[in-house]
């Protein structure tokens, strides 16, 4: 079991425009009202990079920035773990289209934005961070893979870690074979020591074998959780919003799961 503290939270999804604005909804104290994800390019980026930013970069920087603001930490001060099932899905679709027809002119920007760690690269430039950064994928379990990796960095390396999860829809024809319903991102600032800013302690344990997965009570939020890999974070965010001791379970791959216990500070 690994114990860590949540010091800041960032959130951007449909009808979930920031952690502060969404906390009551996630705690079940206010009704969820669906609305398109309010995507915007972060003012952290220089103008040239802002123009080149696709959906994942918008999601990742917006939620990362919100989480750091809440934690009251400088963006350059933390290690980062980015996790996503897909990366820039619009760009991958465009490149495949370009390569299927002559002339095969893939622009330099398209190419460097196609790497899975593009959001991490833009973040480090915007944040001025020379700290370690990794970019993960574990298909539907990408969020919990990121949480597991972040937890080991916090516990073993005593690092302050910003975990950023994001996913968005593919255009057709890929949407039909990998239906991701909308754009969603979330970020957590995780630390080993409790601080005045700590919101909750979380205890994370990787367990082999299946367990009943924690779901969302609200039907629309449950659809969101199932519809976007990164939104598998929602039960954890709901537990953090409820501010009471809560035990949850999130599925991993290969028939495993993560048990997470949330205790408010």
């Amino acid at each position: 079991m690994m114990r860590l503290y949540v010091e800041g939270i960032g959130l951007l999804g449909p009808g979930l425009d920031g952690w502060s604005a969404s906390r009551a909804v996630l705690a079940g104290e206010a009704a969820y009202v669906a609305a398109p994800t309010n995507l915007r390019a972060s003012d952290m980026l220089p103008a040239a990079e802002r123009r080149r930013a696709g959906v994942p970069i918008k999601l990742a920087l917006t939620v990362g920035q919100e989480a750091f603001l809440q934690a009251g930490r400088e963006t350059k001060s933390a290690s980062t773990v980015f996790t996503s099932s897909g990366g820039d899905n619009d760009n991958v679709h465009a490149i495949n289209g370009i390569l299927a027809t002559a002339p095969r002119e893939v622009s330099p920007t398209r190419f460097h934005n196609s790497v899975h760690n593009a959001a991490a690269g833009y973040w480090c430039i915007a944040a001025g961070s020379h700290e370690p950064s990794t970019s993960l994928c574990a298909y539907d379990a990408s969020f919990v893979a990121g949480l597991l990796e972040s937890a080991t960095q916090v516990v073993v390396d005593d690092a302050v870690v910003a975990l950023v999860a994001y996913d968005h829809s593919y255009p057709e024809p890929l949407h039909s074979v990998r239906p991701i319903t909308t754009s969603f991102g979330a970020a957590l600032i995780l630390t080993k020591q409790q601080s005045a800013k700590s919101l909750a302690a979380i205890e994370v344990e990787f367990r082999s074998g299946k367990a009943p997965e924690t779901t969302m009570k609200d039907e629309a939020l449950e659809d969101l959780r199932k519809g976007v890999p990164a939104a598998r974070v929602l039960p954890l965010l709901a537990a953090l919003a409820a501010a009471k001791t809560t035990q949850i379970s999130i599925d991993y791959l290969e028939g495993n799961h993560l048990d997470i216990r949330v205790t408010p500070c």
């Binding site: 991958v92 460097h112 934005n113 700290e131 970019s135 082999s208």
Partner: protein
Amino acid sequence: MEALQARRSGLVPCAFEDVDLETYIAKVGMLDSFRVRADLSAFDCRNNRLAQLCLEQDGFVEATEAARKKYGAARIGVFMGTSTSGILQTELAYRHLDPQTGALPPDFHYAETQNSYSLAGFVSHYLGLTGPSFVVSSACSSSAKVFANALRMMEAGVCDAAVIGGVDSLCLSTLYGFNSLGLVSRFPCRPYDAERDGISVGEGGGFVLIERATEAKAADPMFLLGVGESSDAYHMSTPHPEGLGAILAMQRALDAAGLQADDIDYINLHGTATKSNDASEGKAVAEVFGDKVPCSSTKGWTGHLLGAAGITEAIIAMLAVEHGFIPGSVNTQQLDSAIAIDYRIENGAGKIRRVLSNSFGFGGSNCSLVLGRKA
């Protein structure tokens, strides 16, 4: 090892699919007709074929099987690096969209081929492992960084051992993508040469089974002594001109290993043979190590294996330790006089106890490994 000693490069003029670029590539010829194990046929794509071919080398399956008996399948993690996974499958599928509906061909398996996780899923299933698994995809540092993941997971008690590695296979995205950046050479790549003009793209892979140092049984075992990771925070596709991120990664790896610069006997450089990488990395190595440590890039043999560069070069670095062998640099003719390091063109021999291997990627993602013997 024999190819290294005989200076036999894998680079050949590009003949891959219908790619119309004048360049050299390292291609594993038998992949076109190879198929993955029948029960895993949904995973069949060039990248997983190459993964299986690599797994079948050097008694690796047997070694993993022994570890599985010792620890249990759920206690062995699988952490893989890849840059493009099975994207070739999608590139080819986009040529065969349904003319009426625009749909992908019915035999296209997204999760098992295109998705980045595909490689870790395939390796887990192939080896019958059920521990924690994910893919690191941080471009050309991917399969170096998995050493750090395994180290932390074992230290945290999440697993007792791990299969780590990486595979990247030829695809049109990388060939045309690097070409658009003007980074592809028309000649076999010439790392650290004054006239170097770009990379040669290759395909390859490798795997390492890693367990806690306390489990070491061999007389003089091979250790992962330290890992250093850093970010350039400079540019998406150009390294920091002064090698700032590279210096940090190498220094952090030495610190993690508790070693000084002069404890290192050989450095396997990232050495892509682009103007900017070799100039920036050369400055960084000179800053940390001066000109006293033998260095080389082995990409003249392998081409740039991208997401698989980290693991294959870590393996070459460990071969250098095992055989007391200092790889030189094939294709390199005239060294760049502006780079003040002990760069070796000819192969050599000597007592090699500890090696450092560099892997740097797009997005400014850097990783250095220190491997070798304990003092």
